[in-house]
Symmetry: C2
Subunit: 659 residues, 2 copies
């Protein structure tokens, strides 16, 4: 079958080639008159069915229920339950794998110190970080469809939540209120995430482009690292602001508070952690080196403090932590109108940010292992996980990139590794908490810095610079905005620029003059193809954007100027007769666009020119037809299927009518 | 020349047609192997020169200085002065035309009653409306490039300014402060307008689409008419709110205040004015009927009130007006921080709204008379006019649609008609002001209603409904927003929806499966063209949008699903081998887009398929090449110039390699 069709395929091409090897001109002339392909409109559809199709494509592009078609009702029910609880996909046939155990223990050894550190980053009690590494992973194991995601608190969401809530309430002065606000924000974050998933508005996170994220992450990593200077230098009176300038001012202003013991410890552990990171990056098989380094550092530093009574020499320690599992916290959710605005806003920002990280991490590892992750379902899973979390003393969690990478490298097979991790954290919570009394804060700071340093992705920045200067600008604005203004505003600026850029592309669409590639009926951009040649008497233009309100004025002025230039430049022999507008690359048109086409038709007629439209696509053709029904501007003799056919037919015509 | 090229043109087509009449297959096969056109990248350009070209296309699409090239320096200077002062274009050769005199007097007879009415609409003293019809037209005559624009206060800008300023200050309680705020807002409006022109950001007003404007205008007309119920019914205690609901509630609540004398007068004059309007619409030659009707109504009603002493029977009158020309008002500009936010916001909104009206009116009449109006220059002219106006006791003015139409119909030739109008207003200001003492407010209300009724453009609404349901929704939202929420928020909602719609088009770009139109090498959308047929072994897809961060996830999932469906549906004979992605309609790509192409390439390879890219346009090709330099994903054998060539070449290849 391929062979047969293939013959047919190059048959066409053969004919095209035939021109080059030489063809009979007389026969060709007859053929030219005979073969003209009509522009068709798509089959008529009612407004309702068109609306339905559009809604489906917007909200259900993945058509999640296509497997359901034609199945008996009971099967449908089973499939629906499996759809909602992906755990049912793999648990019934699950046989315990050693890989999952190893992966689970490895990420637990990373999750415990990171949980404590990130909670401190959010100005929350350290134990909240451990609580958040226990319940949410269990929930995710039931609802989530990614096999590699390692769930827990993450640095950026912790940073943002802490900084936003601190603007209204001091965690030192009103610790209970601060905790209530954190749980309430987590609740709203979960609500936002689940709603985005249920309403299938997942594409909203797509507006955070890669360039935005690279710049934003790098900026956030630096802000987070700067915050650690408090712990690393042993400063007591540290600024509560986040920006680069106030933090550096505060550091320099308090040189007297610097403690050499703390700094020495900071440098040693930082070097250790970064070396471990470097080793694991160089030899991926040694992933466990960087995975276990934080826990090792915590153990060693705690022992050192304990042995040398270092807490009496200016090294600050975590102090007493209570044993026991998560307490219920639904009674701590605070819907007081005074703080409602703040918690909703904090929930929205942290929810979307952590969702972006979680979904991106899930997609990355899914494509590595070649399985599908349903974005909207993931959002529902992460959202429900946070709603449950907010009722069980957890704050915002998501799939963390660094821990998921360790999980993946450790060879996890299913979400069981999350369960193992949660159980390990549970054991810690029940029995091992007293061991953390002497853990110095400085080692937690070092762990955070070593973790976030990986968010500064210089090769990606270089790649963006090489690929696209505008993207680089977006990246730079996100970075500078985060560092100098604030985390949320930096993000808003970068998203704004990304969207403005898209709008600008539509406001100033690309228009090209096309020419004929010699010996073919192919027409291409004159600027790009040096062997394309102008066809005298014709101005062949392509527009590469939807024609709508945002660009009709521009298109109108630009085309008129081209026609003017052509008319004034042309000698009598090559006088301009036809303006061909190739609409192949115009996916849509609105009422302003149709008015523009009608205006252009009228104004070209005034100059004695004829406007020809080539290859309008479905929706555009439909609207041209509707405009035709009303006013009759575009008869079928001004519509052609290809530029080649239009030029051939029209130049035959003008040759025949020429004196 | 046309003839020769023509022959060349249909030569191509003849060959294409030749397929149908029959061609030698053996020769064709050889030709197919011989003729393959390479995809070219555009000539290399430095980043700086690309940036320069893009900036030029964004801000100077009209290339205003192209006439300057190659001229001697003195000529350049003369041209620059002429560019800044378009009056120099026509005054030196101006011979007085009777048409300008007639047009000037006609628009003056319209401008005087409208000026008084619109000033009342903005809660300003009536005389400010006349001042605003004197200085700004003179300034515009010097700076403006439209010959038909009749300058003066307009209804919508007056309404918005009044409603925004009333939110902060009561015009009855603090008349001087209110006046100061009005002048300051006018100053900022002018500043915004001139800046948009100087910074060449004129395209910002393009974001007000036709659908938005139609809905907005209709809503504003209704709001303005509702405000007139105070004058028409003779109500004394009227609400200060603007919405439909509070105004109707206020009208019904104060039935006791209705004065039958006022209502009788209102009905009579309204019928008269609407009849005059109808006559002029039906017979355009009688344009003067509706143009003079307002002044006639003012004269008749003033005489009636004077003769019958109607002011003593419940008919409210304007009262004493001072004679004399505009006083300087620069000392009244108020830059007090307390009101700065309000005046800047008011200036921004009224400035952009009145600019939109002015530029649209100028463009409409320019295209009727076939001359060019430079949008950015118009903005500078209107902006400077308002800055000068704010220093000479005028409030926001622009080119009014109704008066410009009368001006055009009266046969004006140059901006001299504006000068005549201004001189007539000057005479009125100097000598005729006492005559307005007995003019009843009810007739002013009737004049406003008769003027704004034309803003409700039902045929345009019907046309939008027929053309595009989404545009209709935008129109409806603008209308409902203005009527039920507020003028500014209605506008913001409509602009927001328009932009969201554009973004949605990019987030969910159109993708089509293409098929071959039998007997040609043309490939078109299977859905639109019933005679297009699938080519077995190939999946030919087109994407019709820039590929960027907002749609790569969607494209990725959608294409993978198509491949999956194809692979599972195909029998062994028609097994899928090649995925062709036609990039003709992809005008731009960003770094996310390039990553998507590389990912797609890898994942198709995993499924044993080959990804072929067809006809990438300039910018896209450039970036593909750069990605190639770095990673080498897209070798030249996976790039083709046309789908026809790709299919021909690849099916020959698979035929040859088939067992």
């Amino acid at each position: 079958m391929v062979g047969m069709r293939g013959a047919y395929g190059y048959n066409d091409n053969g004919n095209e080639g035939g021109v080059v090897v030489g063809g009979g001109e007389a026969e060709a002339e007859i053929a030219a008159m005979a073969v003209l392909h009509k522009v068709a409109a798509p089959p008529a559809q009612s407004t309702a069915s068109k609306l339905k199709a559009r809604v489906k494509e917007t909200f259900f592009p993945d058509d999640p229920f296509r497997g359901f078609k034609g199945k008996p009702l009971t099967t449908k029910w089973v499939m629906a339950v499996q759809y909602l609880f992906p755990i049912l996909d793999w648990v019934p046939s699950y046989s315990f794998s050693l890989f999952d155990l190893v992966a689970g223990l490895t990420i637990a050894s990373l999750a415990i110190p990171q949980g404590i550190s990130y909670a401190k980053l959010a100005s929350l009690p350290p134990i909240i970080g451990l609580y958040s590494s226990f319940v949410p992973p269990m929930v995710y194991a039931v609802l989530g469809s990614s096999r590699d995601l390692a769930v827990g608190p993450v640095s950026i969401a912790s940073l943002i939540m802490g900084s936003m809530l601190r603007q209204a309430v001091s965690p030192a002065a009103e610790p209970l209120l601060f905790l209530q606000l954190a749980f309430t924000s987590t609740f709203f974050a979960g609500l936002v995430q689940a709603s985005l998933g249920i309403l299938r508005l997942g594409f909203i996170i797509d507006f955070l482009s890669k360039a935005t994220l690279v710049g934003f992450m790098a900026g956030a990593a630096i802000i987070v690292s700067l915050q650690q200077l408090k712990a690393l230098l042993g400063i007591v009176h540290f600024t509560t602001e986040m920006g680069l300038v106030p933090v550096m001012a505060s550091v320099i202003h308090h040189t007297k508070e610097w403690s050499w013991q703390t700094i020495l410890m900071a440098v040693c552990f930082l070097v250790l952690l970064l070396t471990a990171r470097h080793v694991s990056m160089k030899w991926p098989k040694l992933f466990w080196v960087s995975a276990c380094a934080p826990l090792a550092c915590v153990i060693v530093s705690t022992l050192l403090v304990f042995l040398f009574k270092a807490q009496k020499h200016g090294i600050s320690i975590i102090g007493q932590l209570k044993c026991g599992l998560n307490r219920p916290s639904w009674d701590k959710l605070l819907f007081d109108p005074q703080y409602l605005g703040l918690t909703v806003k904090t929930g929205l920002v942290t929810g979307i940010i952590s969702l972006t990280e979680g979904v991106a991490v899930g997609r990355t590892f899914a494509s590595l292992k070649d399985y599908q992750v349903d974005g909207n379902k993931e959002m529902m899973a992460i959202g429900l996980m946070n709603i449950v979390g907010s009722c069980t003393s957890c704050y915002v969690t998501t799939g963390a990139f660094s821990r998921s990478a360790v999980n993946h490298n450790a060879g996890c097979k299913t979400a069981m590794s999350n369960v193992i991790m949660a159980l390990t954290v549970m054991v810690t919570l029940l029995f091992l908490m007293p061991l953390f009394v002497y853990t110095p804060n400085v080692v937690l700071g070092a762990i955070i810095i070593a973790a976030v340093i990986g968010l500064i992705d210089l090769p990606a920045v270089y790649n963006i610079w090489k690929m696209d200067k505008m993207d680089f600008l977006v990246c730079l604005c996100a970075f500078a905005g985060v560092i100098f203004i604030s985390v949320q505003q930096g993000l808003a600026i970068a998203v704004g620029i990304s969207i403005f850029r898209v709008l600008l592309q539509i406001t100033r669409p690309k228009m090209m003059i096309q020419g004929n590639i010699k010996g073919t009926d192919i027409y291409r951009n004159l600027h790009q193809y040096k062997d394309a040649q102008r066809v005298p008497g014709f101005l062949i233009l392509t527009v590469e954007a939807p024609i709508n309100f945002a660009n009709t004025n521009y298109l109108n002025e630009r085309i008129k100027r081209w026609i003017e230039e052509e008319s004034s430049a042309g000698t009598k022999q090559s006088e301009l007769h036809f303006v061909i507008l190739d609409l192949s690359a115009v996916p849509a048109i609105d009422t302003s666009g149709i008015s523009f086409l009608i205006d252009l038709k009228k104004s070209t007629e005034k100059h004695g020119l004829e406007l020809i439209l080539v290859n309008p696509t479905g929706e555009v053709m439909e609207k041209i037809q509707r405009a035709n029904d009303a006013h009759g501007h575009f008869k079928s003799d001004s519509l052609y299927l290809t530029t080649g056919e239009a030029v051939a037919s029209l130049s035959t015509f003008s040759k025949m009518t020429a004196p």
